[in-house]
Symmetry: C2
Subunit: 202 residues, 2 copies
């Protein structure tokens, strides 16, 4: 919080107003990113397009990377809310549905790749924390699903649910990248094949 | 080629000299990247550290992205030359060996992620071309290997070699990312599991 920021909360009412203002800026930033992509965009340029001061943007989001994380987090939550996959859905099918939803939002896949790349480099704490936690959450939730499938006899019993979760998420991310670069790569067929390999022997 | 560049080739002898000079700059750039990573480094800063003029660097490599592609290409070729996997090696095992070799070179995995992220964004022709061609080459070579394994009865006959190749490469890339962010993710065990799933039913 900087003294120079006109939106700086000073009381409980102001705090609620600050939350609303932050969300307003975030919503507008999501629109801006969807229109122009996340590339080569300074915090100052975004502030101009979003229609806020650079000081306000810094106040609410700290850095461009933190804003990018929030844009991704919110856009992905939006995408996921459109489809609730049935519980019986196989791991590969669940990733296929989620990837399809993400691809429907312009720029989201590119933003994801950019955050993952940043998370692997030194000095990108916001991206590192977000991507690491996102993978951990996804793996835990998918491992639970794999256990349920194993109990129901839909996934072979001799595979480690944690390893299957990591493998399916990795395969989906990597296949989507290959497919975006070369449409001949059949992302969906490869995930279906993985589902088939995970099924119990007939 | 710019008139201002002192290294600009003017004859056949000068051309050979130019090739040698380009290689010299590239070798030094690889050292610089291994020491400091590829992040937030302008062509001008690299030129300074490599000890050439900015004009010479532009002359030989055009853009920072083209230099990054060349640094990656050369470093990976170096890494690959250390180990020649035996022909009988399974797809997952081949990726495990290659990933291990790449990780031994500081900064190489980060540079790879950065090039892949760039390849998905508009206006990154050098990264797009390099990453797209690299995936196509890797898939073709691995699909050939899968066919040989199928002929020898080491991989089940009912899977499409092209899909297996795309899947194994995707899984390896994605697992390496998850493992770099969280050492508890067992990259190697997950690739071994995939090899096991691909084996013919007992």
């Amino acid at each position: 919080m900087t003294a120079a920021d006109p939106d700086a909360p000073r009381s409980r009412g102001a705090y609620a107003k600050g939350i609303a203002r932050r969300q307003e800026i975030l919503d507008r930033a999501i629109e801006v990113f969807a229109q122009r992509g996340s590339e080569r965009t300074s915090l100052r340029a975004i502030a101009r397009e979003v229609g806020v001061t650079h000081a306000a943007l810094t106040h609410y989001f700290g850095s461009l990377e933190e804003l990018l994380v929030e844009v991704y987090r919110e856009s992905e939550a939006d995408a996921d809310s459109h489809v609730a996959p049935p519980v019986e859905v196989t791991p590969g099918e669940a990733m296929r549905i989620s990837a399809e939803e993400n691809r429907a939002i312009p720029g989201l896949v590119q933003l994801y790749s950019r955050l993952v790349a940043a998370s692997l480099e030194e000095g990108h704490l916001a991206a590192h924390t977000f991507v690491t936690e996102r993978f951990a959450r996804l793996r835990a939730s998918m491992a639970d699903g794999v256990r349920r499938h194993q109990d129901a006899g839909r996934i072979r019993a001799d595979v480690d649910p944690e390893l299957v979760a990591a493998l399916v998420i990795a395969a989906s991310d990597g296949l989507q990248t290959q497919w975006l670069l070369d449409g001949a790569v059949d992302h969906e067929a490869a995930l279906s094949m993985l589902d088939r390999l995970l099924a119990p022997p007939a």
